[in-house]
């Protein structure tokens, strides 16, 4: 057959998949940057939450033995990245609806890059969000007791947790047909995760049955670990618990998302 095949550069598959992932991530970040409401949602809203809980609600919440702002900040990091994960599902289902994912499926690119690029962009976004919030936190009185290393470790835990969580929202976004449905399905999950955890108030203040739920979920594990790393005290077991949740979520949801994407055309 006298067809001319398109020029193909042939490095290894892994290198090509990585390059595709970076290209898709770049596209998603540009998209975020150019969608003002998404930018506001990603950056301004977390800052408003910090200020609200620090000044509006904080006065009414007493946590024994610790100033509320120091108690709050690890919780609000977890809240911000969890709320932000909705954007993953919404963005992906929008691409599904617009037909862009169909186009990507017909390109000679690495298929996993569509999902990998989405979560990589969200990782970058979360690094920015967490950095901005840390600055705002320090400005309103947040102080750490394990030094910069403790703080960086806490922020690292928050970021890897966010990465795992965004894979779960990829799995969600691929299963709903439009952005509104993604939002409707994601918001309750996100609220339940955040507000049954001890992100804002101690579990002890909740009824017994809710304490049981709150004590056995990933946001609580994350917040506890981040608190141990910033407030002081033994951190090891909390960090291990949080990393276990994160690893488990990542493995389960990345596999689920990849499987859903692979089976989408069947």
């Amino acid at each position: 057959m006298s067809t001319t095949i398109a020029p193909v550069t042939q490095p290894s598959r892994v290198v090509m998949a990585a390059a595709d992932t970076i290209d898709v991530a770049g596209r998603n970040l540009r998209n975020l940057w150019r969608t003002p409401q998404a930018m506001v949602f990603a950056t301004v809203q977390p800052v408003i939450f910090v200020l609200l809980f620090r000044f509006a609600f904080g006065g009414a919440i007493h946590v024994p033995g610790v100033s509320y702002v120091n108690y709050l900040m690890p919780g609000i990091f977890a809240q911000a990245v969890t709320f932000g994960a909705i954007g993953t599902a919404v963005g992906l289902s929008a691409d599904l609806k617009s037909g862009l994912l169909t186009r990507f499926r017909t390109l000679p690119m690495a298929r996993i890059a569509v999902l990998g690029g989405r979560t990589l962009a969200d990782l970058a976004r979360n690094v920015v969000v967490v950095t901005v919030m840390t600055g705002v936190g320090f400005a309103v009185g947040f102080r750490v007791h394990h030094g910069a290393a403790g703080l960086l470790a806490a922020l690292g835990l928050v970021t890897v947790f966010a990465y795992a969580l965004s894979w779960s929202f990829v799995a969600l976004g691929l299963r709903v047909s439009d952005p509104e449905a993604a939002q409707a399905a994601g918001v309750p999950v996100m609220f339940l995760l955040v507000f049954t955890s001890d992100a804002f108030v101690p579990l002890r203040s909740m009824p017994g049955w809710l304490q049981v739920i709150g004590a056995h979920q990933p946001v609580t594990a994350l917040v506890n670990a981040a608190r141990s790393l910033t407030l002081g005290g033994p951190a090891r077991s909390d960090v291990i618990a949080s990393l276990a949740w994160t690893t488990g979520m990542l493995l389960v949801f990345a596999a689920l998302a990849a499987r859903t994407y692979r089976h989408m055309g069947r």
Binding site: T3, T4, I5, T9, R27, L100, T106, P108, G265
Partner: protein, 324 residues
Amino acid sequence: MTSPAISVARLRKCYGDVVALDGVGFEVVEGSVLGLLGPNGSGKTTAVSILSTALRADSGQASVCGFDVRTQGAAVRRVIGFAGQFAAVDANLTGRENLALIGRLSRLPRVVARDRASELLDSFGLTPAADRLVRTYSGGMRRRLDVAAALVHRPPVLFLDEPTTGLDPDSRFALWETIRQLVGSGTTVLLTTQYLEEADALAGQVVILESGRVVDVGTPAELKARIGAVVFRLGFADDIAAVQAEHVLAAAGFSPERDAGAIRVSSANGSGALVCVLRALEGVAPDPASVRVDEPTLDDVFLALTGHVTTPDEQPAEARLGAA
């Protein structure tokens, strides 16, 4: 020697209880245009989606440039370009960024992708809008960008799923011209359309789909000839002359239908029968003042084959990716 660039046999696909494709088969010769013609829900989009590896068939065979779409998907994706029914471009990127991204993801080196983007923007008349965000584009501009995106890596086989649906006539004709040029340079095109005129204008072969089945195959001319009737319209100076001619033609074995001073005669034997009609009249009836020959349109073909005409305004009923 021409081998089929696209080959499809006994293709089946169901969405739950809905049978989208029910044993479809056809071949597209390299360097030709095949028009897949049918109303909404007839299975056109499903067929193209399977061939472009976006969708997987339940059973049957399909290959593109000799590569099996099921087992050699990656190879198929290197030789195809795909432009769907919905302009699948990123509204928050510029036209140039869209094409460069598609180029990169089609494995073109960065510099090549950038040059190719400029080249395509130019040939699709999008250079003035190249650095504007696509969300500011008109529907026609988006569609042109979408087709341009399908051409970035110079694929030898092109799938166009209703490429001109919703376009204004000018954009439509411009796109037809582009498609003709591509075919002229050797590209194989599989085009779905519900515009009969479009299949007639572009396609060498037409496959008519109805409810997931092939109901007829042929060149536009063959299809029209098959259901036959060329219509002759004879105009006479007055009603009296027409009545006279009507009697003569009826006596000669034709089936004339008269409406005032005009007579309509249909012929199953093509337009050559006009000579017989005129010869029958010669010397025994007044000569007609005017003669018109109406060839059947593909609309007539469609009506004859499926019992209804296409209605382009219906909402697409075909299941899309992820909807199943």
